[in-house]
Symmetry: C2
Subunit: 280 residues, 2 copies
């Protein structure tokens, strides 16, 4: 039986294994400067932080340690967003001997994060370059790109990590998971369990369905709203069989458009599904 | 910095990532009943045994624990042979604070294995179906397929794990590594360091070169000598550019011919190269 941390590591690996996942690195698509093997190395080295989460570590600290490990490869940011979802899930699993994951229990985990968790979250940005949106003017002091330098602002305003995440909704689908009881991740887990065939193929199918549902916030941040809507519409066409998902994958990779938030939620859904007994 | 156990896990994952590795599962080739994702799951769950090796565990026990973990997926044998090489390498790394790997030090590790190591090695066969050659008649009592039942014969004859491996040479290239200071694995590590580009691509190139050098013993065991020689000659043609390695991969996969011993040695070479600082 795999431990929660091992299931988390396997979720990260299965996420990047599923192909085609248009726009994102998968086992048959990669960018010159961001390769499949770097995601693999990221998942290997994130284990220290994942084990900390499993052993009762705080969400922020476990996340920060995971990111430090993940960054131990030459590709840069591989699984920052995925870890931001998977780590609180592992913490939730660890808090209950039955290992049962429910939206309510995950919400309990994230809403009980503290100012210290927020400080550790900001520290994580020191280790890796992450594309993030500009904050509103009045929140400039809390811009995550300030990294550890934002610490005094966080402490002065007494912001918990949950508060920080709530501030990022609706512009960030990963943050939205924190405020909705990981709604999409649990839906992904259900879909993974209902489908048949290799788990990585199920992950790719579910990814395309999710991408077709709403604009990916990471695409919106890195490019613009129009691009994100266009990707969603193309994903709908691919989901309906109007265009070949492989063709869409090639197009998006060529254009450098990677719907990272959707991939992050797939990783979280994979973790939940594995914890519920999905067999590989 | 990755720990020795993490480098071992990464080596297993990079080995299966490299493509094309004609005949073996890699990230673009798989068998219906033995898939890429099962190798990934095997590498995730082998970690307990790899950590035991890193923390000073005996070779046999660490190997057996790795195999129990590895078998925690539905594909059966994924990395049995690779672990039989990687585990003594991790044990060697752990015995020296400088983490320096040399043929002499690895030989010291394997020649100092005991009867207990042999017993644990046989126990590993209880957890997974492994294709092995028939032993000579007078060694029937030591047939590894007897699993734990061979224990009394091993104890009566006072065979160490090194003795058992030495008995399997020359019909088994993995066993041959044990008696030659891991000669091929160290050559693979040199080749990996000399090549350029993504590490998984270097692994695929080195695999093809090694396969072209001599008949793969796993192919000989599973099929026959003629098939193994034919595969070697086809690999020579692919190495020289006379045939497309992708075509050879498709041919071998269709025929169910997987040169597993060569892949195992690549995994061992990857571990040595990673320990020497090869960057991903």
């Amino acid at each position: 039986m795999r431990s929660p941390a091992q299931n988390a590591q396997l979720a990260l690996l299965l996420e990047v294994t599923g192909t085609p996942k248009p726009g994102n690195v998968d086992r048959t698509h990669e960018y010159d400067e961001l390769r499949f093997e770097q995601f693999v190395a990221g998942a290997v080295s994130a284990m220290g932080g994942l084990r900390l989460a499993q052993n009762g570590g705080a969400v922020g600290r476990s996340f920060e340690r995971s990111v430090v490990g993940m960054a131990n490869q030459s590709g840069g940011n591989t699984q920052f967003g995925a870890l931001l979802l998977v780590v609180p899930l592992v913490c939730t699993t660890a808090r209950d001997t039955t290992r049962k994951l429910t939206p309510e229990r995950v919400t309990e985990t994230v809403t009980s994060t503290t100012v210290e968790d927020a400080v550790d979250f900001y520290r994580a940005f020191e280790h890796v370059q992450v594309a993030v949106a500009d904050p509103p003017d009045d929140l400039d002091a809390l811009d995550v790109r300030r990294g550890a330098a934002a610490e005094s602002a966080i402490r002065a305003r007494e912001r918990t990590l949950y508060d920080i995440m709530a501030l990022s909704v609706p512009g960030d689908l990963v943050a939205r998971e924190w405020t909705t009881g990981f709604e999409d991740a649990f839906r992904v887990a259900d879909s993974l369990a209902e489908l048949s065939g290799p788990v990585a193929d199920r992950a790719a199918t579910t990814y395309l369905e999710l991408l077709a549902e709403r604009p990916d916030s990471f695409v919106e941040t890195k490019h613009d709203e129009e691009t994100a809507i266009d990707v969603m519409e193309r994903a709908q066409a691919a989901s309906n069989g109007e265009i070949d998902p492989e063709q869409l994958a090639d197009e998006l990779i060529s254009a450098g458009i990677n719907p990272g938030a959707t991939a992050d939620i797939i990783a979280a859904g994979l973790y939940i599904a594995l914890e519920r007994g999905l067999s590989v």
